[in-house]
Amino acid sequence: MFKINQLIASVLMLAITSLTYAADQKLVLTGSSTIAPLAVELGKRFEKLNPGVRVDVQSGGSSRGVSDARSGLADIGMASRALKDEEKDLKSFTIALDGIGVILHKDNPVKTLTDQQVIDIYTGKITNWRDVGGKDGRITVVNKAEGRSTLELFTHYYKLKNSDIKAQVVIGDNQQGIKTVAGNPGAIGYVSIGTAEFESGNGTPIKLLPMEGVAASVENVRNGSFPLSRPLNLVTKYVPMGLVKQFIDFTRSKEVADLVEAQYFVPLPH
Amino acid sequence: MTVIEKNVCCTPSEMSSEAFTLGPLQLGPPCCDPEPHIQIKNLSLSYADKTALSGVSLDIYRGCITALIGPSGCGKTSFLSSLNRLTDMIAGCKIKGEILVDSVNVHAANTDVQALRRRIGMIFQKPNPFPLSIRRNLEMPLKEHGIRDRYVLSHRVEKALTDVGLWDEVKDRLDSPALALSGGQQQRLCIARALVLEPEILLMDEPCSALDPLSSAVVEDLIKSLRGRYTVVIVTHNLAQARRIANYAGFFWMQERTGTLIEFGRCQQIFEAPAHQLTAAYVSGARG
């Protein structure tokens, strides 16, 4: 009996101490799943440099990041797009750039598509690769799920409404798009350029198409010539101060360029 | 009708011929001066949809063995279970009439059921030792009734096991599982488990019917040896057994789809000079 009492007491103690234990300062980031892995790495390095600080990153989506920053649920929101007009009351800070490129299966002989052809394919006017100079075969249109900023950017660039798109596969995150296209020689999709470059470099059977004659490459995103690129932003409600400012400044500094590149994004020019 | 001698069931010679292990008698010679221990008055018992027993009245005498005989399904087990209120466990079971133990109604609302059951032990048809060690089987009920002194515990365990003649067989393996014992040993352990609480009354529901003849004989001898120390009510289908061990006998029979007590009396009278035709037919083996 005594032993059991002791055990219960010690467990309770442990629970209480662990519940009340907290780091001195905590930063909460929520939002874009595209930025989340990068933010985790940025946070880790920041924690190392600033003992006693904790950076918690929760994955979600850009709209979520914006609304959490506004409501105060998060200290910093993450949005993988520029702020919309109705969001201009918030402050945004770009920490990296990313391009969005159209990908096909590697075995697809089609080398390039005009903007109009992409629009026709996505709206279901063209349904066979033969019509755009490829082999006879049905086109599988891979689209993103509603709410994702990649989708918003894509439709915005091609001046499409999501309800106009006739997709055969709707995907969630980036890698699902790459895996879907890699597994289907008739598929067309659009994904983050950095990761697509990495994947095709590692033998995944996909290829990036040029856009308006500009090759879809990290290099062209960096030099600004690629037309469909987006900023990866941190968003705050107020002008950053204290720890928030310290963190944002850190994420925009030269010191983290290696982390940005490790996640296949384009670091800010310095 | 034969005249029945008053002391016929327990002549002093018969008493002394028993090899008791239980020490001196605590009560006066049983049955010689019958004193009711349990009085059942107009007991009826019904389950949700059917009446199992109706209008049963009898006195059960202190220190005697009372055997209940009769065909299956005529309410003997229900009767037995109503004495220690084990019928409470059966949903929808209703009881009318009175059961007085030492003149106190056990079915009164304010009865402490657990205390009652401590006074009235019960042995079941199928030996049901708990899935614990032999020692724990006996100690656990004692502890639950507030006895924690180690010396008292081990003393009473030993006494109970000695009383049922099991001590020598198991004293070296008290901590081995009770379910590893043979059927007869298990049943004796169950009797010991009832005795260890020092009850006044023992209810036995066909205690030998699940045992082989040899074990059955051992248990029967044990039951016989309890006479005089405990008030025993035993349900049995074995008429010869009832005749061998009981002082009193009651005969149950189905009438109008419900069990009733047809006849109750001294054992010898029931078997040798039954008053009722049905009893006569049953004990002679003609019916049932």
Partner: protein, 284 residues
Amino acid sequence: MSRSRTDQPLISVLAISAVIAAAILLLILLFLLRESWPVLNKVGILRFFTDDGWYPLEARFGLAPMLWATLAVGIGAVLVATPLGLAATLFTRFYAPRWLALPFQRMVALLAGIPSVVFGLWGLTVLVPFIAAFEPPGASLLAGILILTIMILPTIALTADAALAAVPEHYLRGSAALGFSRATTILGVLLPAAKAGITGGILLAAARALGETMAVLMVAGNVVQTPTSLFDPIRTLTANIALEMAYATGDHRASLFVSGLMLMGLVLVLAMSASRLGGGRLHG
């Protein structure tokens, strides 16, 4: 019931626990309603069935195609998994050579423990391209059904095994004594005797199939449409929530909670029919 005084506190504690356990369901319904109320109040429940298309950002809230898709993929998986699951059980019990029976059963049990994400990953990289080679896009109702089949098959097999184990030995002996063949013994005696348990297992598996999220999301294509062929990509109600929840705000988010309510409705219907079907219970 025997309610001696010493038992009263115990019974109170137990009753409170049971009430808490039962109240969880109520809490879930309550909070789903609370979160979906803004949009239910604004556009009404009916439009979730009548709107064409699911474009919540454009205020079009048609969930009906996803309801049909959920049902199609669930029913399809149950139809395929039931014979296979039963066969797997019968195999371990009666057909497998002795050395194989136990490993096979362990394998089925292990299959039950593999997380749905792993099934999904495998489906996305192996199964979908395989189907796409015959009939693009590959991500389809069929892929969903097949993945769900592998996932719920162990549930059916394990519950059927328990049900068969409970069939009294003398049924088998009786059948053997009559000189019945193995097939007759199984089809004529064993399966009917274990029917209640097997039905329970199938209903449980059906609930799993309807509720499965991640694996279906990864293989079924997620296009909002009423399926007309096995090769059509579909989106289930669960995938809809998982796909968009993290991104949704405002009415969009509220309408995802409506998807949740609709799923609860399906489960309620399933549980009702379970208790109708001869007291079979939905869980385990």
